[in-house]
Every structure is written in C-alpha cells, then in structure tokens.
Symmetry: C2
C-alpha cells in the first residue's frame, strides 16, 4: 500500500511523462486537435440535449481533459459529456440548471469512492446484453428527443422514447421547412463524409480528405453556422437558433468508460480501480467549473485511437482547443442552428448502437436475448434507468433460476456381499446449494433409486440452511424405510456438514458401503435385497 | 389432465368423504369446536388490528372453513384471518373498509391463478431466513401496534414498529389505569393457563384442565367481557370498548399457509398446487360475505393438530361454532375490552416468532444470518412489505455473488515426448458459467500455468455470451505466446461450444495433448520446453 511504486500507479502521469519525447508530442497534438474539433460540436449538442447552455458542454470537455491526462491509465480514452449521460440529466435540469453541476460533483464522488474502496467488481453484475440493450434504448430515446429540434416542431421533446415520438407526431403540422432542410442536409453530408473511404473515386486529395473525414462534425457545424450567419446579416432568421437522471448516473458513467477502455485496451488488461479514480476526479474537479457529468465517449475515443494517440497527453491538446473555442468563439455559438446539432446527434447515435451482439445471443442463449429486449423495451417506454434496472433484475432471475435447478449427477452401482447385493446411488453435490433449490434437491433425493444413497461432497463448499433442513427431513423419512444415507468426503464446517448422515471418508466406495451398511448390525435393514 | 382421478385430487373431499365414519366425526367435532373457541377471540382481535368491525374477523373464519373442508388437502390446516395479513391490511382499511373485501377477493384470485398455472415453484425463491425474519418483524410490529390498545393511550398505532413505539412513548402520559390493569391481567392469565402442564401441581381435574388450556383465549375473553358487562350494569365504563398493505398480500398469505402445511404434514409431501387452489377459493368465496383476507393460521393449526383432527371436516365444525357466535352473541362483542384482545394478540405473537433458526445460521451460514437481520430491520423500520422485498433481494445477491466466483478446479500434469515435456493444466468448467463471473473466469484462465490449457467441459451445460467473448479474447491473446487451448468434451450447442479453441474428445488426455499440440506442426510453438 505504502511504497512509492503503488502511489505512482495511481498517478500514471508520473510513469509516462519521464519517457515523453518530441515524436509523442507531435502525434498527441494531432490526435488531440482532431478530437477537439469533434468535442466542440458534440459538447454543445449534448449540453442542449440536457437542456443546458451550450458552453456547459464545452466546460465539461476542458477540465476532464486535464484531469484524465494526470490520472488516466488508458491512452485512447477521451472523457467528456456523452449523449446517454445528457439524456439521464434532462429530468433534473428541468427543475434547475444547478442540478447538472451537483450531479457532476456527486457522480464524481460516488465513482471515486467506488474506486478507492476497490468495488470495481460490482460492475460485473451488469451483463453485456444489458449494456447493449441500454445503449440501444438510449440511442432511440436521444434520437427521438432530437426530432423536435430537427424539424423545429412545437411541444416538448418528451422524457422517454414513446413520449417523444407521440409528441412529435401530435405536433407534426408545425414542422418548419428551413430547419428540416438544414437538419436533413446535415445528416446527409455527415453520411457522405463518412463514406469517403480511401478507395472512393470522390476523393480529390488524400490528406485533405482524411482530415475532413476526421473533423467532419466541425466542418458541418462551421458550414451551417456560416449559412445561418449570412441569413442573420441579411435580416432573416429562418432557423431556430441555440437556446432534455441520480444514483444511476455514476453507474452509467463508469460503465460507459470501463466498457470503452476494455474495447480499446486490446490485450492489455484495464485497471478498473484506476479508471474509476480518473473518471471520479474528472467529474469532481470539473463540477466546480459549471460542468455537466462527463465520462469516456465512444465516438471520440475511437477517433482518438484512429488518430494515433501515444499518451493521455492527447487530452491536454483537446482541452486546450476547446478552451480556445470557448474564449474566442462563444459569440458564434448562438448562430449554430439547432437542427444541425440535432443531425449530428442522430448520426452519432447510429454509431453507438451495436446489433452485432444479437446473432450470438439468438444462437447461443435465448434467455440473454430476452434480457436484451427487456432492457430495450423498458428503457424506451418507462425510462432509461428503469431499463437498466429491469435488465439487471432479469439477469439476476436467470442466475437464480439456474441455481434453483442444480444438476445432481447420479451414478448407480451394486455392492455385492455374501448373500446378496445392494443398489448404491452416488449423488454428486454441486459446489453451492442455495435456498432456491430446496424443493429440487428434496425431490431428487426422495426419488433417487438405491438402498444406499452416498452424497458425494467432494466439490461441495456451501449449502444454505433451508437445504440442510430439507435433506435432514428426507433422511429421517428414509430411516423408516429400507434406505440409508452416507455423506462422503465433506470437510468439517463446509456445506453439507450439518446433515444427519454418517460422515465417511476414503477412496474405496465399495469398502465404505460394505463397512457401514452391510457388515455391521444395520444389515438387517437391508435384508431381503436380491 | 382429463381423467376422473386427477379431478378428484383437485376436490379432496371426494376422496375422504366416502371413508368417513362416526369415530372420525366425533374426533373432528371435538377438534373443530376447540379451534372454534380460539377462532372467535382471535378473529375479533385481528379484525381490530386491521381496523375493521369485529364481526368481519368472524365472517373470515366461517366461509374459509367451509371451502377448506371441500378443497383442502392437509387435514391440520385451519384457514382464517391471521395477525400478519391483518397488519398488512391496515394501510388499505385506513382509506376505506371496502378495501378489505376487495383485498380478500384479489388475494384469492391471485393465489388461485398461481395454483392453476402451477407456479408454486416461485415460492422457493423466498428463503427460510426471509420467512423467519419477516415473521419476527411482523410479530414486533403487531405487538407494538397493540401497545396503544393495551394501555389505551392517545395517538395513532403507527404504520411500522418504529412509528408505533415512538407514538406510544410520546403519548405515555395518557396511559389509563384500568385498561392497563385488564390488559396485563390478560397476558398474565394466558401465560399461567399455558403453563398448566400435566405435571403441574396446580391442576385439579385433568380433563377440565386440558380443556381450559385449549380454550384459554375464549376463557379469558369471556371473563373479561363479564367483568366489563358488570361495570356497564353499574354505570361505569372504565375500559375502552370495541369500536397495519397489495401484491404482497397473496404472497404472504400463501407463504404462511404452505409453510404451516409443510410443518404439520410431516413425512407426507404437501401438494402446493392444491393448497393454492384451496386458499384461493377460501378467499374468493368469503370475500362476497364481507371477509378480510384469510390463510392458514399457525396457532390454530397447531391446536387443531393437538386436538387430534382426522379430516378437513374439522373446519366445518369450527365454522359452525363461529357462525353460532355471530348469530347469537354479536350483542356481547361490544363488551369485549380492547385491552384484553390486545393482550391475546401479544401472547399469540410470542408463539409465532421462532428464534431457533438463529444458532444454525450463526454456525453455518453468516450470509443467511445477515439476510435474516436485513429482513427484520427493514421490516420494522420501513414496513413489512419492504422487509420481505429486501430479504429476497439480499438472497438473490448472495446467489449472484457465489455465481460470480465459480471454482475452476485446476489439475496440473506433464506430457512427455521425444525431446521434452509440456505442462498441461486441466481446468474443470462448472455447470453454468454466468455473466457475473466474466472477470473471474478471464483472470483464472490468464494466470493458470501450463503450455497447454485443456478446458474440461464434461459437466458444462451453459455459458453466457459475455463469458464466451472473454474466453475468446484470452485465447487470442495466448496464441501470440507459447500457450495452446483445447476444449475437451463439450457437446455441440452447449455452453463453451462457441469458443475458438480446438474441440477434442476421447478419454486419453495424454494422447489428445500429444496429437494436437506436439505431433503436428504446432510443435514449434512449444519448443524450448524442458
């Protein structure tokens, strides 16, 4: 705990900074600036999703960038506002803007605490289908909430996917031509820029094309803002210019960040504790500067990776670029058309939904597929937090159900003696026999055939008290009949230790059965056996 | 499904009635009348606990008695109002009395539906510690809610144990001498009558004593009512005379009934489906006659058993006696002092709490002890329904935790060949590998020693998709190094079938390893092994 090395692991900048050189600096700068160009429009867009002023989304890219450079352990991860956190925040911001800063602070505190207490293993209880279903539900809700901005309709953007869609269609008559045109144009041009692959004949100059693809969000926003400004100069304002939840937020924030870190870390294992400390510090520090909650962003992390980032210092360059834009360009923000931002958000949502999990779920594990659908359906109808809760509960029920039906592998054999033979059933007890399997275990032990039942406790570690009671009642019932129970190889104080059967040890089961059930006086109870 | 025998099993009266005779009739009559004498005061008391008029508690003994005689499968069980159901009902009765009848109807419908759909296995998910803790919390709450009546203090009786105790102590100055005296006298005399064991020198005449013990509740109520009536005749009224929840109620009702049936059925197994049908019918039918929810009562079932009941017909005699009391004695009900009834309830609560589960929990299973305490603490502070929910959630977490740390038993051995030997690790995969164990399984497979890792899938049935992905990433990492993975004896479409390792079968592991990892071209990757 107390040596220098373990402290340095907790502040990773002390590890990579001594080996820093000019080449790394250049590559980090290029990657950082590329990511920064995406962070500006996305930050503004996500602030608007949450119902906050545009600059809040930028503030949340600046301080987290600096803190992640100090505490972050995964070079590719870029911390900033994300669409999902923004969607969760909407409900609170509707009451007061200050809730966003409070949420950021509390999210940071909870994550930091979980990291310090090394409780990262709790994340294992949220399964991949739940994360995937939650992401799909979030993408649907966020996209639906942008319909209002994209078409500049009246009415509210709705708290859930269902409400947003209903609101949109009940106000569909108020669709504004110019906003719709600009929004659709944004989406189309983003997809076109995305499709500019190196093999495409459309590309004129390779370098120019690569950069325009990487910075496509910024390019589109710049173009749209310029158009809007021109309209403004000529006295026209055809576009609507700039002007959408608590304990679940830290969970979602850290889930997003860890899932992204794991996806990009490749073969290196992710230090979950360190990631929690980093994301926690990012949120705590940035909350003092009016930021919304921030965490690892999938799209920007992918961009960072593609731009060849070398160290977490890339975050510093991103933060610097965003800081510059806040300082010198904040006047321009009000000319960014909302429908352009809505288009950017919708296109970003397409890339975060991943349906590739569905075929293996269908082939391999229908119950997990059900959990995925449960998460999506509850998420889009009742709200995102309820979706994640329903998914986690569904997963817990799956585990409970399989725990309630343990396989008690039974082997049958005969032990012969002077005047006959006894049928022996060897029942292998599972590692853990839990309360939910009480009835199942009782039923199996009652119906197993054999004059002697040997309970094989070699792999058994624990049995709940209810199971012990049930097994004892089965044994006391069986004593009246022609059946004997032996408990084989159970360690003292472990599992089935508490049942009322003779405890036997040794490798030779034939000898053990002969000794305990045939050679001694109890032979009488087995007489009449052919 | 459609033969006569299976229909007769669903109406057990058709089975026992043809064999009915005079001896059975006499014994059933004695037992039924004895139980009836207890049903009258307890029924009135529990109606008052729920905040209902006294006769409602009696109505709920009459019709369920008749219905259980027709549909019941366990002769000892006596169905009627219970303290726990009354406590759960309080909250709803506070809004309107009619909710009690509605609750009775709905409770009956839900239980009947569960029975018809054969969903009795769902009850296995409520463990013994949760039932025990819930009973203890209910007894504490019910006793505390009677403090107000016992001492006739002002203020409310409180919705939870904590509130009831706080209310009592904040109104302690309003304690009424006469009520307190009568209440304490009731408790003392009930305990004295209970202690009249056959060996006691106090007993004058054996038969008389046995009957007074069995009918002690009725005796005490009769005496107290007589005293109160005398006071009334002489123009004095020193005693206050007669005038604590939805989906959880069916659950609690059927849990109580099944637990009691199991306790008294002895070696015979309980037909859970039939019990559900019986209790469901009891509640549905009796709800049309202004009854509160009814289920198997522990104290009265024990009395029924002790009185030597022979068939469910005992219920009919109980119902008849209660019906007589409603018809001819309802005028007398208003002279029953509330503090006497409070005393009866408190003494009944002592007998339903069972602390004998605690020592085995302490010795054997600390985590189950924690679940017990969790149920009690949440039950007495937040409310009984929350207690049962917290306990069930705690149990689910215990199962999840053990599922997240499966034991991957590893055996090490060497396989020798011409110029060296390879270390082989044989890792036994558990039956079900669930999503929560993703990190654990990944860690074990990364750190296991050996040049060849053989995954033993002989007992493996299922693995969640997340686990397959993690194992695949461990395998693809290992391929770069000097390690090979083999998958041994996995059935197609089962469990680990989806991983990217060579699937091998056969008994001779030495030969399999030689064939797949040494004899073919891959030997190069294992060269340099000593």
């Amino acid at each position: 705990m107390c040596n220098v090395e373990s402290w340095r692991r907790r502040v990773p900048i002390t590890i990579w900074l001594p080996q820093y050189n000019l080449e790394k600096l250049l590559r980090d700068a290029i990657a950082g600036i590329t990511v920064g160009l995406t962070s500006i429009p996305q930050g503004i867009a996500y602030a608007l999703v949450a119902g906050l002023p545009p600059q809040v989304g930028l503030y949340s890219s600046i301080f987290p960038g600096v803190m992640y450079a100090i505490f972050g352990s995964c070079k590719q991860v870029t911390v900033g506002p994300t669409a999902i956190l923004a969607a969760l925040l909407t409900k609170y911001v509707a009451q007061s803007e200050d809730f966003a800063y409070l949420a950021s602070f509390l999210t940071g505190c909870v994550i930091l605490l979980l990291g310090v207490l090394q409780l990262g293993f709790l994340l294992d209880f949220i399964s991949k289908p739940v994360i995937s279903g939650f992401t799909a539900a979030a993408a649907l809700q966020i996209s639906a909430s942008q319909l209002k901005s994209l078409f500049n309709t009246t009415g509210s953007s709705g708290g859930t996917f269902i409400k947003a869609v209903i609101n949109f269609f009940s106000n569909i008559k108020s669709v504004q031509l110019w906003d719709t045109l600009l929004g659709v144009l944004t989406i189309v041009s983003l997809f076109l820029l995305k499709c500019c692959s190196p093999s495409s004949p459309l590309s004129c100059c390779a370098t120019c094309r690569v950069h325009s693809v990487r910075a496509r969000n910024a390019v589109v926003v710049f173009a749209a803002t310029a158009v809007a400004y021109l309209f403004y100069i000529y006295g026209m304002t055809p576009f609507k210019l700039t002007g959408p939840e608590g304990l679940v937020m830290p969970l979602v924030a850290i889930l997003e960040s860890i899932a992204i870190a794991k996806a990009f870390a490749g073969t290196a294992s992710v230090d979950v504790t360190q990631e929690m400390i980093a994301v926690g510090m990012c949120n705590i520090v940035s909350s003092f500067a009016q930021s919304m909650p921030a965490t690892g962003s999938f799209t920007r992390t992918a961009l960072n990776h593609a731009s060849g980032v070398m160290t977490p210092a890339g975050s510093l360059f991103k933060a610097a670029l965003v800081l510059l834009s806040v300082t010198y360009l904040s006047e321009a923000f009000r000319f960014i058309p909302r429908s352009t931002l809505a288009g950017i958000i919708m296109v970003a949502m397409v890339s975060i939904v991943d349906f590739s999990i569905l075929p293996p779920l269908w082939r391999h594990s229908k119950s997990e597929l059900f959990v995925w659908f449960l998460t999506v359906v509850v998420g889009v109808t009742a709200g995102l937090e309820y979706g994640i809760a329903a998914g986690a509960a569904g997963d817990a029920l799956r585990v409970l159900y399989s725990a309630s039906r343990p396989r008690l592998v039974t082997k049958q054999f005969k032990v012969r003696y002077q005047v006959g033979a006894v049928d022996v059933a060897l029942v292998a007890l599972p590692e853990v026999v839990c309360y939910a399997s009480v009835e199942h275990v009782g039923r199996v032990l009652r119906t197993v055939r054999g004059h002697v039942v040997v309970l094989d406790g070699r792999t058994n570690i624990h049995a709940d008290v209810g199971v012990i009671e049930t097994v004892n009642s089965v044994i006391s019932d069986a004593e009246g009949g022609k059946r004997r129970f032996l408990l084989w190889c159970v360690e003292e104080g472990h599992g089935f230790d508490g049942i009322n059967a003779t405890l036997v040890t040794g490798d030779d089961l034939q000898r053990i059965v002969t000794e305990h059930c045939i050679d001694n006086r109890r032979v009488s109870s087995l007489s009449g056996v052919s």
